[in-house]
Symmetry: D2
Subunit: 140 residues, 4 copies
């Protein structure tokens, strides 16, 4: 399975060259992860942070910006799991244009954290099972 999400390019995303200012992509990418947790894994950031005292911070991210995106375009994000570790999960997010042309390709490593102890912890089994459903996709 792949988790998908639409990304309409807004005025707020664009720079004086009329294209997306790259730091805004990371807000979009974080939003995709947030929606994946809530909708794909049934564990919203609100529930994790506010009720369970856990979090899934990004400890590594690498990103290729292949082609600029313009105001008014509607991009598509596709998230899949690349590697599922004990306390961490590696995901890939592709951001594609209307012709499925690559705009941004990102790899992220997320770590399951106990927010009080500020320590990594094993991914809870129910979350691991949910994550695994997004993992049978060969990474590009």
């Amino acid at each position: 399975m792949i988790f998908t999400s639409e990304l309409p390019i807004r005025f707020a995303h664009c720079d004086p060259a009329g294209i997306v200012f790259y730091p805004r992509y990371f807000e979009m990418i974080n939003g995709v992860v947030e929606d994946w947790c809530a909708q794909g894994l049934s564990a919203s950031f609100h529930e994790m942070h506010m009720q369970r005292g856990i979090g899934l911070p990004t400890v590594h991210i690498e990103t290729d910006f292949s082609k600029p995106a313009e105001l008014g375009e509607i991009l598509l994000a596709e998230l899949s799991v690349v590697k599922l570790g004990g306390a961490s999960v590696e995901i890939q997010i592709l951001i594609l244009g209307p012709q499925r042309d690559m705009r941004v390709k990102a790899r992220l490593v997320l770590v399951m954290m106990d927010l009080k102890l500020r320590k990594a912890m094993a991914i809870p089994e129910i979350l691991r099972v949910a994550m695994a459903k997004y993992s049978d996709v060969p990474a590009v």
Copy 2:
């Protein structure tokens, strides 16, 4: 008519107190105006800025923050036209909680601009007619 738009409160909006950091509301408010133009007035920011060389910048805004909003809430924005001038339009945006409880109340004055001349210009008739449809709502 009222133009409405859903505003899910994301992690990116929230501050160390766990509530929306107020400058983020202005990005949301700008997004509501952007969607109103595209969907309500059939004149997207992209088309206005990139193709027609016109814009609708905000020259005045006043805002009351009545009650904080938290991560995970889904707010509702309601936009209506308060006053329609020759080159300007005054709008009201209410941001409401799930119980229709007021969170943010904003009044904005937008001015129709010729972007090349950097001068105010009369609102084109077709836009004025479209805007007027949102104006028969008594302001709160």
Copy 3:
């Protein structure tokens, strides 16, 4: 006394028209208030939020955007106290260009809050005395 702060206009602030995207001004304005608290009032946001459990949220703001600002300009912010109440303080922030030409004029009402109780509280005497030093300036 007036509290002043330099505001260099960065790429991150600017929109496809090459001028400051107005929601970015509110981040700058919040930064000016933050610096005023830390440097002018000797009560940093960090100390207030993290150690004392108090905060100074903005409950009302009204803003006039008189003239656009461009990438590379260095603006000057001038903060003064307009009215000092029991639990609230009204301030004015002027953002001026290199010729002291008005770009943005903002009025804010800040309220002293007990963050745990989520209730307004009297401004502590030491803060009130510090704030009062910025109040003998006639508002524009």
Copy 4:
């Protein structure tokens, strides 16, 4: 030579966990590159974009977030050139805590672009010479 820049952690940077929200680091990183161009290379973004029609967009970035940063901390960014190509330059930005403890380590590839043609171009000689001064630092 190393180009250095102070990064005070502001309220606007922090998330509900009280630490820097990672997309904000990319705004800081872009600001460091912007300051390096203006102060280190004597070629401001304003001059490049608005007057010369050239730009230096980021096409690749990889980042490790080693340790969180908190509201009120003052971090130090250190920029050095790792590799100087014909049309591109690879830089490293380290973001360090007050004890020179690593917080963020980033590698970026920037490409010299003709903004009108939307094509890569050779880095102008005067810029190349200026960049080379920051390159004799062994990458970590």
